[in-house]
């Protein structure tokens, strides 16, 4: 699946490794494509960064889904905030010192911080969640790629001078922080329950990624308006198609969808 591609129909359970590959490769390809196509062909192509971010968001949402099926002792949202907290520190560092290797350095340093926090959580805090280390690496990595991807779309490049001027100094990094974090944590939180299905949750991740893309498109107007319209339109398209798909899956999964009506009767509940 190419970074810019639309989600294929997700059937049944997808194994984690596929989604991990989708997230890392899609994320990095999107970010680099945005950077190079932007400077070589046209600034219009900076929307690719947001597509990369969507790949990372879907991956992050799947990682949250796996780790939160264990009891964390506190809500799902905290892990999303942790992911973006680690991600923002790592990605600013990566972009600041990495130059052209910035996104990769951001990703690797996020993964290292994630690994250390995962080890600390299990060994020192005694959480004893078997997949904690791996999940923390994944969540931090996905958070970092989301931040770098959205920043690339907003600034048109991931070179840190531009990112600093167009994303960090005006404070738009705050909206990346929370819109990316919510896109990662919300899908599983919104679909929490015994009858949760992976395809429905991940469709929702695409939808929330679409919203983040629209926001990134809006901000890209500050750096130059060429990329704004294509980014917003693709974002709205992704939002709409995945929302329609999500509603379809809700109809498939829910007990009943009623226009209105009374509560189920006693006999029905038996």
């Amino acid at each position: 699946m190419s970074a810019g591609g639309e989600p294929k129909a997700i059937g049944g359970a997808i194994v984690p490794n596929k989604i991990i590959a989708f997230g890392i490769l899609g994320g990095l390809i999107g970010i680099y494509a945005a950077h190079f196509l932007d400077s070589m062909i046209s600034p219009v192509f900076s929307f690719m960064g947001a597509l990369g971010a969507i790949c990372a968001i879907v991956w992050g949402a799947d990682a949250v889904r796996r780790v939160c099926s264990y009891g964390l002792g506190t809500g799902v949202p905290s892990i999303g905030m942790l992911a973006l907290g680690m991600g923002v520190v790592a990605s600013m560092f990566g972009l600041a010192v990495g130059g052209i290797y910035g996104p990769i350095l951001a990703f690797v340093s996020a993964a290292i911080i994630g690994l250390i926090i995962g080890v600390l959580a299990n060994k020192v805090l005694g959480m004893n969640i078997p997949i904690m280390e791996q999940s923390m690496v994944e969540i931090a990595g996905a958070g970092a790629l989301t931040i770098v991807g959205l920043s690339t779309t907003m600034a048109g490049t991931f070179m840190f001078d531009e990112v600093l001027t167009y994303v960090v100094a005006p404070g738009y990094i705050a909206v990346i922080f929370i819109a990316g974090g919510m896109a990662i944590l919300h899908p599983f939180n919104a679909c929490l329950g015994p009858d949760e299905h992976q395809d429905r949750t991940l469709t929702l991740a695409f939808e929330k990624g679409g919203i983040a893309m629209v926001i990134a498109g809006l901000v890209s107007a500050v750096a130059g308006s060429a990329a704004m319209l294509p980014t917003i339109m693709i974002g709205v398209f992704i939002w709409y198609t995945s929302f329609a798909k999500f509603y379809e899956l809700t109809k498939r999964d829910s007990y009943k969808i009623l226009g209105s009506g009374l509560l189920p009767t006693e006999e029905e509940l038996q």
């Binding site: 404070g171 944590l185 919300h186 939180n189 679909c191 329950g193 919203i211 999500f246 809700t250 009943k256």
Partner: protein, 301 residues
Amino acid sequence: MEPLIGMGVLALMGAAATIAGASEDLESDVGSQSNPNSQVQLAPQMMYPHRIYNKAISGEPPSNALMCAIGGTTASVLMTAYSMSPLFAIAMGALFAAIVHGSYSISAFLGRPASQKRFKQPVYLDILRSHTPVIMGYSYITTFCILVVSYLMVAVLGHPFPLPLLAFIWGITVGAIGSSTGDVHYGAEREFQNVEFGAGLNAANSGNIVRRAESGLRNGIDNSWFCAKFGGPVTGIAFGMTVFLSGWVTTVFNPAISPIMGWLSVVAGVILVLIMIIWNRKIEVAARAAFGPYKEDEVAA
């Protein structure tokens, strides 16, 4: 800056923050968000299906931070890239934030009941249609007021943080305050009006939320009607007090004048905190005297 102008701006910020706090709490009551929603979530499992919105976006702080940060970002983009007037930019920002918030609300309302298929909780579309615009309306008010507070801090009081970041931080704070104060009125009282007043929720009653209203079946709008009498306004007072008092100490004793003034502002803040500790103690003593113990002391009896 003239101290009087500073005080006037601060008063305006306090007023806007009070409205933001009240609308934040009512927004979370209409949609049933945050901690009290755990009972709405639990009810179908305990064989109590219901017609209450299930707005499990996340805790209130992240969801409010999201809408405020989106509003602040949109307003800032409109002001820098299109040179719009601040008021119009803030209104547009709040509108966009409300739309995004509506989308998040809908996905939570569809997602949670669909994941409870085995407990036979239906998805009621009329609830979706009637409640989502109300939620969006409240979220518009909250975002607008927070943006006014943040904009005044940046533009008039000269705060160094950029507008979207300040809006983000105040969003986290209003959510934290709303879920700590007003939500208790919804969770501990409104959801459990079927048990005797004056007690916490007995664990045995978990999930047994009130599902029938004065007429018909209870929904989230009924809940906000109740919470607007007490929970919403006190949340507004709490957030307004936080914004006002934390700005008041540095406006009256401005650290820009001299370090001594800065330390006086610290002393003033500490005195305010001590007053609140004593006030809480007074409430505690009065409540213990008024309500009395729940059980006799076994040794004395």
